[in-house]
Symmetry: C2
Subunit: 226 residues, 2 copies
């Protein structure tokens, strides 16, 4: 009789991690790099994508749009002639406030992975739960608008710790705000020492070249290990 013993290890992978690894394997197989883009509602994720997705120098980019309802952001991006796939967390997932690995997996059949070099996943606008769910991505980026106040890294530390880049958006509004940029950077360093950040305005285009270059580097990176 053939017997196989399965040991349940102490740090057993939870379901989300298991599915994230399956996503990861599919991305690697197709040679696609994946960026998980997160922020509070209205911080400017879609506007930042509109600025760059058709200007990535031969990098074939696709977008996976996560929203509770509707396809407003997907419709905005579709006009830029990149493949956009919509996930709604409302009907199938009970109005979830974040994407998880299984929701992403459920959409992968509709994403032309073999035709892409870079897939950008625009998460549901929320500063809490998206940080808790890996989806098999290579990198996590968060967008924080200066209109949100200097205290956000201190109040939502997990989100600011979970990412490899913070895009500080809406800097064109700085002259009209009481926002103290130095204090924000200080708070950001306190929760995530050494984190990269870029100052941008999706409205005026300031800093967008740096954002574009960061995405080009992300697309060119060696495959991550699961």
């Amino acid at each position: 009789m053939h017997r196989t013993r399965v040991r349940v290890v102490e740090d057993a992978l939870d379901a989300n991690t298991t599915i994230a690894q399956a996503n990861r394997a599919d991305f690697d197989r197709a040679g696609v790099k994946v960026v998980n883009l997160m922020s509070a509602p209205g911080a400017g994720k879609t506007a930042l994508l509109e600025r760059v997705v058709d200007a990535l120098d031969g990098v074939r980019v696709g977008v996976l749009e996560g929203d509770v309802q509707g396809s407003y952001d997907a419709d905005r991006l579709a006009s830029l002639h990149v493949p956009v796939t919509q996930i709604n967390t409302d009907p199938g997932f009970g109005g979830e406030c974040h994407l998880d690995a299984n929701m992403v997996r459920s959409a992968l059949g509709a994403v032309p992975l073999d035709d892409l070099d870079l897939l950008i996943v625009e998460n549901v606008g929320n500063l809490v739960c998206p940080a808790e769910f890996r989806i098999g991505e290579d990198a996590r980026v968060m967008v924080c608008a200066v209109t949100e106040g200097e205290d956000k890294p201190l109040k939502y530390p997990l989100m600011f710790r979970a990412c490899e880049l913070v895009v500080i958006n809406k800097i064109d509004l700085l002259p009209h705000l009481d926002f103290d940029l130095e204090k924000f950077v200080h708070n950001l360093e306190a929760v995530h020492p050494g984190i990269d950040s870029i100052l941008v305005s999706a409205r005026t285009g300031e800093g967008i070249e740096q954002w574009r270059e960061w995405l080009l580097r992300a697309a060119a990176r060696e495959p991550a290990t699961a």
Copy 2:
């Protein structure tokens, strides 16, 4: 033998509703009106409270502050000499992205209900889940900053439907934004016809008198039925 038959009714109350009703009964007993204040992160809930909590004409007001971590907002409000109680959803509740009836109940022992006429509960900054959990409040108010874009009612309809008042904040920034106020109001009416709204700037004080008057009316209302 005495037998009691308990019928399980079809629309059985879930645990949150049951606890919300217990909160409601405590509020009624103490004669306290309760407002649940919700918004995305950084929309200006705390700034709007700073503007009015010490100017409510003899209405004794207290604040229950909901945050994932820290007590930054509570510290800001404490200087205004109103009783402030902090709930952190992180250590006890696993970093929840919203308040629910049980979290509020767990804090009520620290809230001097008998010394209050109005309790304002500042929810965790999030446009999704707070709308799903009643806490026993009389009224729900949401704050939406014009910096968040006109599409927010369409993308987060449950939140905009769940409230009795929308406070449209940061209107001092309108000259510096592409925000189309008419379109926002149109979207708001589409998801919640007839909803009350107030245009304010917590920064300049514009519209704050209307916000103050709304809170005075909320404090004077007849007790709600559970």
